[in-house]
Amino acid sequence: MALNTLVVDDSSVMRSIIIKTLKLSGLPLGDIWEAKNGEEGLRILQDKWIDLALIDIHMPVMDGEEMLTLMRENDQYENLPVIVVSSESAPGKIEKMLKLGATFIHKPFTPEILKEVIVAVTGVSNEYSD
């Protein structure tokens, strides 16, 4: 199964890093969509079939916590695998995201870490990897 992936981060550089790392992970990827805040991310979720979302916490307009909260209130996305990718270190904030059913990856990260977490949260087969 190829994973259609949504990457939500206000930094275009960070989105590029995440996408580059995804490609290096060797996992089977489908379409990759980018959004620069939670509001844009939710719009893409409404329009496209997404299998996995990687989202930042601190973003203007709508942050990652609000986006994730709204996703979990919607039947369509309540079980969508979400990985929060952030340099956030405040335990309280991370705990909130975990309670909303996300998995947390701390920046910086390696393709191996990203791959391990994606395999764990999506159940995608590892057989396509290098």
Partner: protein, 130 residues
């Protein structure tokens, strides 16, 4: 060998605050590393100035997010502001005459990166103690 006397190319800062501390992390590049960082992160040969600034800011953001939680006691909540690109005039301002609480210099090829961590009030407190 340390590469002294290289002119400053670019700098970025990330400010942070908690209930007990405020401060900033500063990153400066010299000797071609401003461009090299963006080229490597984004995998592009000729990054624009904006891309270079964004890449440097993102590096500062990641370092700050990882370093600041080690200040003081564990478990504190920190707020980290978005990275800001600095020009030479910014660096000449009074606030930058503070002494960093910690710093590191990394030499790569012909260039150099200096990373400095500031805690507001540190210089004054140190002077008083002496």
């Amino acid at each position: 060998m340390p590469k002294k006397n290289l002119p400053l190319e670019a700098a970025a800062e990330v400010k942070y605050r908690s209930d007990d501390f405020t401060g900033k992390l500063l990153i400066e590049t010299r000797g071609g590393l401003f461009s090299a960082i963006a080229t490597n992160i984004l995998s592009i040969d000729d990054p624009s100035t904006k891309q270079k600034k964004d890449a440097l800011g993102e590096i500062a953001n990641i370092i700050c997010g990882n370093v600041v939680p080690s200040l003081g006691e564990g478990g504190r909540e920190y707020k980290i502001e978005p990275p800001r690109s600095l020009n030479k005039d910014d660096l000449l301002k009074e606030e930058w005459r503070e002494e960093p609480i910690a710093g590191i210099t990394l030499n790569f090829n012909d260039g150099r990166v200096d990373i400095k961590l500031f805690v507001d009030g540190y210089s004054a407190a140190k002077e008083k103690k002496e």
